[in-house]
Amino acid sequence: MKSAVVVFPGLNRERDMIAALTKIGGTPPALVWHKDAELPEVDLIVIPGGFSYGDYLRCGAIAARSPMMDVIRERAEKGVRVLGVCNGFQILTEAGLLPGALMRNASLKFVCREVKLEVANANTPFSHRYAQGQVIRCPVAHHDGNYFADAETLAEIEGNGQVVFRYTPETNPNGSLNHIAGITNRQGNVLGLMPHPENLIEPAHGGEDGKGIFAGLLN
């Protein structure tokens, strides 16, 4: 299983992501700079968290329009798995690979804390290591994680089982509709996730609840 981490300027959780992929998958991912001539042939493409282009204009908006995203879009259409975490999720929605949008948190403040996630669909490549309905711990750290989609889109993604992770209602940190924390595209090979499973993968982190996502993808 080969993976690549794509870095845009201003992303800052790429080191956390590389550490998680390396520790869990056994081999380090390829590190791809957004201007690199090509993206190596891999089975998993990860866009990590951070503040691409400073989150200026709108979170993820500038990175979403880079040539590298066209390459990622093509690979996704061919079925390659794509994981976008936090800013990565925002970039994927801005690029149209995932439906909906991530608005400013309802509190209007950045929030970094641990939340609980319910596995809403355990039948995806990203979540099959968990049981349907299982509740896991996971940290969040974002300013704009308030998931929104119009009623029609929302009904569609709910109907298709595209909602993979939900915050438990009492730990929803940002006001997301239907407590949505992570969704896939229609085909189920692209996941956007607001929380940071890569920061809860070993005992030193205080738990390993986030490990299943990577273990399910890499092993």
């Binding site: 300027p9 951070g50 509190s107 950045f110 970094c112 804390r113 940290p139």
Partner: protein
């Protein structure tokens, strides 16, 4: 455009630059002529308090700055301390008080940016940040606005840059109504053989400008920061810089990449007084002259004058001296990161600082005198008079449970969750302890067992009552907090915040506080390796509480043996280590007195440094031998508050039987050098029997209430509600 570099230098203009008549006379004597306008600006930038430490230098020299692990003490961008295995921790704390009061978001954000730059300028990747924040009384009309802006600014910059904020302080006192304090700390890791300094070497080498473009923001900032506030502070907003963490993040990556190529001879970030200060420091330290060509400086605004370019405090800029043969390689790295790269001058052998603009020499000054040989004062001072001791009879017996709930729900002792949840505490994936405990702990990436512990402390109430004991206490408490995580305290950085040093009573506070800090640092083998002084924290003649913030770093050899302030099991014995026979006695200047009784009286608690050290090292040995569960230091609010904090964090109660009275002295006394630890009953017996310092079993863990002697039991839920409730209610939050 026209620019008159030779305008009349009137006394008003001199005063407007923060220079005193005798300082101006010194300039005239030094250069033998009237300075040009640009030169006057340069002098004001270099000789203000913020850059020159002219009032404090004499006393700062007395601080212990050496130790077996110290690689670099004060005088560089940050201090460097050896942590073994060829690695070093590089750290410093710096204030951004004046700008944060004028424009809280940008002031705080650029404070964080500045300190991060100090650390990565030396070749270190930042791994941890802290912030010590002090605001006016909660009811003051500006306080909420300032809290909200400063916290958002700290988070906005640090989160985007990508450094975990692992600790800090937030306090309120009316004495900060007109001058808040924003003290930002950062630490980074580097290999000991890859540390970069600001001393230039070699004649005729290119001086290169890197990073963001120069604008008009912050012109005169350092001079502003060296003056008192009056009623005209709104007019000072343009002197506050604007931060761009996106550029800073790219600058970090570009600098570290460039340093890896071996191209860098010397590097200095452009902080206070921007281009002026960085160029002069690089030259003066290397006994070289510097020649700058301002036409080559990347600017983002049109028609900037040389005066503005030399004094701009635009952020995210660096100056370097590079090996000429590597210039092309260096340029390529900066182009990759889409940052400016411009050769703006060269080193010379004439010890002059010469600045050219549109073919004209706008400044030509002796570089050593500008830098190392700035004025220095031995300002008159008077020894502070300690207040009368508190009359114990004047403190009535009280309902201990009620008093504890009141303290927990007060502005200064309630949970800071509202603040630290706006900071990314987890990024980089190495945070082992995040805010809410004794110290923040971050593991050393790539090492199987090592971790670093961080804490920032000072008790301004003590410092006001007795700057000497207060200075000692700030060091001791920081040292104690590091011990409580299981770390060997390595070294510290100081951020000395005081009022106007031209007033002898303020100067007396500075002198005594530094004396106390120095003694404590010597006694505890805890040298000061970097620091910053912020004076003139006054508004309309009223100064802040003397606030010498101490931020320390400790080393945990094996983080599997790290300690936390959390009960690990029910049925453990709670031991009080290092306490006097009555367990607690000192209520003077205590949290209980101020925040429960509304009184500010008495002396500061005495810090017996020998006792502090003996107790601390004993507690550290217990942690390292794995003999104790929870460990928490005792400070503000004494035993009762320490127990309550531990119970809340652990969601587990405790019953304390050793004190039966309702006497506040025992429960809320702030005697120094004390810890609570928990151990199994058998281990507790051994500790009590063999401890070289006082060790008393005071109770047991378990249950869902905290019972303090004969006081009514308080449920964990009530404790938590009181503790967590104050801040969100104060800030008017309705959403979580």
């Amino acid at each position: 455009m026209t620019y008159d570099n030779h305008i009349d230098i009137t006394p008003d203009l001199v005063a407007g630059h923060g220079l005193k008549p005798d300082e101006y006379q010194k300039i005239l004597d030094l250069i033998g002529r009237v300075p040009t306008y640009t030169e006057l600006g340069i002098f004001s930038a270099m000789w203000n308090e913020h850059c020159s430490y002219k009032s404090s230098k004499k006393w700062l020299r007395t601080l212990p700055t050496k130790g077996k692990r110290v690689i670099q003490g004060p005088g560089e961008n940050a201090g460097v301390v050896d942590i073994g295995d060829g690695q070093a921790v590089i750290f410093k704390m710096e204030s951004h008080n004046h700008p944060s009061f004028i424009e809280p978001y940008q002031g705080a954000a650029t404070g964080v940016g500045g300190i991060l730059r100090d650390v990565f300028t030396m070749g270190a990747r930042p791994i941890a940040a802290m912030n010590a924040l002090r605001f006016g009384e909660p009811g003051h009309e500006k306080t909420r606005h300032l809290v909200s802006g400063v916290v958002a600014g700290v988070g906005g910059y640090g989160n985007s840059f990508g450094v975990p904020t692992v600790g800090g302080e937030v306090q309120f006192d009316a004495r900060y109504n007109g001058n808040i304090l924003v003290n930002a700390f950062a630490a980074g890791l580097a290999d000991t053989d890859k540390i970069f300094y600001s001393k230039a070497e070699g004649v005729g080498l290119p001086v290169v400008y890197l990073g963001a473009k120069t604008g008009r923001d912050g012109v005169g900032g350092a001079t502003m920061a060296s003056a008192e506030f009056g009623d005209d502070i709104e007019e000072k907003r343009p002197t506050v810089q604007v931060g761009d963490p996106f550029t800073e993040k790219r600058l970090l990556e570009a600098c570290l990449e460039l340093m890896g190529t071996g191209a860098v001879i010397a590097i200095q970030d452009m902080g206070a007084a921007g281009l002026t200060c960085s160029a002069v420091e690089m030259g003066a330290k290397g006994d070289l002259g510097i020649e700058l060509d301002l036409d080559a400086v990347p600017v983002r605004e049109e028609r900037m004058t040389p005066y503005e370019m030399m004094l701009s405090e635009s952020q995210e800029r660096m100056l370097m001296v590079l090996h000429p043969e590597k210039e092309a390689e260096a340029r390529k790295i900066f182009e990759k990161w889409e940052l400016d790269f411009a050769t703006v001058g060269k080193t010379t052998d004439d010890l002059r600082f010469r600045v050219f603009w549109q073919g004209e020499e706008v400044a030509n000054l002796p570089i050593k005198e500008l830098g190392d040989e700035a004025p220095e004062y031995d300002r008159p001072w008077i020894a502070p008079t300690p207040p009368a001791p508190l009359d114990p009879a004047s403190v009535p017996e009280t309902d201990i449970a009620e008093a504890l709930l009141k303290l927990l729900g007060s502005a200064n002792h309630s949970s800071r969750r509202w603040v630290y949840e706006q900071y990314d505490t987890l990024i980089q994936g190495n945070s082992l302890q995040t805010p809410g405990g004794d110290g923040g702990v971050v593991r050393v990436e790539g090492h199987p067992t090592k971790a670093l512990s961080f804490s920032s402390d000072v008790n301004p109430r003590y410092c006001e009552a007795d700057p000497y004991e207060g200075g000692k206490q700030a060091v001791a408490e920081c040292w104690r907090n590091l011990i409580a995580t299981g770390a060997e305290p390595l070294a510290a950085t100081d951020n000395l915040n005081f009022g106007n040093p031209e007033r002898p009573e303020i100067m007396g506070q500075i002198v005594h506080a530094i004396k106390g800090i120095g003694e404590a640092c010597s006694a505890l083998d805890f040298p000061i390796v970097s620091g910053n002084v912020s004076l003139y924290n006054e508004t309309n003649g009223r100064g802040i509480l003397p606030t010498p913030t101490i931020a320390g770093v400790g080393l945990i050899e094996d983080h599997a043996r790290m300690a936390r302030s959390r009960f690990t099991r029910a049925g453990d014995v709670i031991l009080l280590i290092g306490a006097p026979e009555e367990l607690g006695t000192h209520l003077g200047q205590s949290a209980y007195l101020r925040d429960v009784l509304g009184r500010r009286e008495g002396t500061a608690p005495h810090v017996d440094l020998e006792h502090e050290k003996k107790t601390g090292l004993y507690v550290l040995s217990l942690i390292r031998e794995g003999r104790v569960g929870a460990v928490h230091d005792l400070s503000d609010g004494g035993l009762a508050l320490s127990l309550a904090e531990t119970a809340i964090v652990s969601a587990q109660g405790a019953h304390i039987h050793a004190i039966s009275t309702q006497n506040a002295r025992a429960w809320f006394g702030e005697d120094q050098g004390r810890y609570i630890v928990t151990a199994t009953p058998e281990e507790a017996e051994r500790i009590v029997a063999t401890a070289p310092v006082p060790a008393v079993a005071i109770g047991t863990t378990g249950g869902d209430t905290l019972t303090l002697g004969s006081a009514k039991p308080i449920s964990i839920k009530d404790l938590r509600d009181a503790y967590e409730g104050w801040f969100p209610a104060f800030m008017g939050d309705t959403l979580n």
